[in-house]
Amino acid sequence: MEAIKQLILATVPDALIEEKIQLTVTVSPEALRPVALALRNDESACFDYLIQLTGVDYGEALGVVYLLSTSLDLSRCLVLKTATTDREQPTLPTVSDIWGTAILNEREVYDFFGIRFIGHPDMRHLFLTERWKGYPLRKDYDASREQNPVNLTSYDMPDTSVKWVSGKNGIKLEKVQLFEDDDYVLNIGPQHPATHGVLHFRTALDGEIIKKIDVNCGYIHRGIEKLCEGLTYPQMLHFTDRLDYLSSHINRHALCLCVEKAAGIEVPRRAEYIRTIMDELTRITSHLLSWACMCMDMGALTAFIYGMRDREKILDIFEQTTGGRLIQNYNVIGGVMADIHPDFVKKVKEFIPYMHKSLREYHQLYTGNVIARDRMIGVGVLEKETAVSYAVSGPVGRASGFHCDLRNIAPYAAYDQVIFKEIIRTEGDSMARYLNRLDEIEQSLSIIDQLIDTIPAGPCCAKTKPIIRLPEGEYFQRVEAARGEFGVYILSKGEKSPWRLKFRSPSMALVSIMDTVCHGAKIADLITIGGSMDYVIPDIDR
């Protein structure tokens, strides 16, 4: 800690360093890049993992909060802040060349707050269209629909982008060509069965070889973060289920944990155990669906039917206890909504041996298949350095040899009570990602097996007030969702609703590396790689 302070002060003497929950450093926009570079390149500090980048409207100033961590030890965090008071033409220096995560995230901040990042290679809108008026997450944004009515006319997709560069005579605008003149550009999506939702790839091809992928998001951007700013904490819980609907329970767990930690609510042990078991069951459903869909994308429809068949078994268990199949609305602040069904333990115990048998069947069916192996081994290799730079975590990051399992590194709920293996592979190809998911199902079963008999007796929910006010401050909670690190950032001003709330979505990192990973691959492999990444689009767009 002291060494980091020394490092920052040596680079920028007037940096403001505060010791809050995390070490918080506030710098001026001019000093941002030197500090960022120093933190990134220092060998002992080595902050090479930018978890997220959040735009904030402080009222007078517009700022950005960078949450940094290191691939050496993911539990170590540092908050870096900067702000500009210019609300008409706000500009900040880019960090997209230092951390890959920033490339898409800075475009998101530009969308929401209108902050232009100088030096960013592609400063276009990410979620909203070019014809959108205003910046929706600014506090003075007029949310009435007269300003931006639903427009049914088609819009253009320009082949050029802009780049802001600072020269001697101030800031000037440069045009950036996205594709070369003789590129053959193929549109995949937004309505395409293999993009797993409404994602739009513009793919530049050279024959069959992919030269570049331009990712277009926002076809399901629902403005959840803005909606949350007008609701109380218990009211906004249901939005988290609908972000990454395949790990709905885990997302909700994250927001509950964040609010509980900030408000100092003690969760009963029984609720923690139930939450952990539910999290792991959710992870299994998610991995099963991703396995099923990946196999279907590669032409194996039988595998899809098998995966969905076994998934229904877990959904039955969910439905009995929570009343919901896909979206459960089960976690509440302080615990879980209702106690488990009397048959829950029995049913889960029946399910564990059944799933082990099914996994063996999956391997027999598909893993050994010659065509499947040829299409997956060595295809779409993701290097560890790229994974860290773009903050890719979850099964995909672990397939590239990146230790990023937060259940191990920063245990929450009842994860400190169980022993399980973090699945690491170093190949980084589609096959490693595919196998990682199947192996993680096995580990999840082992976690459930260890917990199911030891659920402590007692209440399943702590008593809480209907309106919860969080003390002034910033709170961050990270959990391991099925696709990687899911995070909740709350900036509270002591009110009953947050000033700013941001969800860190794991899928955004997965989609941001598609260009790098697919470069030089065949167009048919794009579908395999996309399937092995397993992104969920509403999680990206929020």
Binding site: V150, I220, R222, G230, R242, M308, R309, E312, L315, P538
Partner: protein, 189 residues
Amino acid sequence: MEVKNIKIKGFPNKEFKDTGYLEKYVEELRANGVGIITGVLDDMINWGRSNSLWPLTFATSCCGIEFMAVGAARFDFARFGFEVTRNSPRQADVIIVAGTIVDKMAPILKRLYDQMAEPKYVIAMGSCAISGGPFCNSYCVVNGVDKIIPVDVFVPGCPPKPEALLYGMMQLQRKVKVERFMFKEKDKK
């Protein structure tokens, strides 16, 4: 010709709720009378069409997963004639709007609907497609797909259970079964 009551094989008519408009339509047809040859031809065509409504593979969010579940082993809509999902709108008969439609997606949904060949049907699945659902106050969510394209059946729920979707699909089949195409009033003029 006597217009018969709408019948779905294996499901008694009283199981279907909210069918007043269909019954009214049948009564109207009876009152006005239907030609024997055209009526029989219509019945035959409708029998074929209602039992082979192929949906478009279209899903934007959570409801899409339940839509997949309905297509998979346990629920299996192929039993009722929704044989396969088609990936091209030009080959699809019905579009099941599963999920939220936002401003950026609205023109695309409109275009997809326009690309489908007549006769075409729309099922709005889930509360987002019906009214914007939990996101109805958002700055960029379309409050109901019926503002963009005409909807035949609304299936409420967030997301609806697979059984609810199957029920909605059968309601659509019932609607298809009483349609009259041959020599409509406007064609005579």
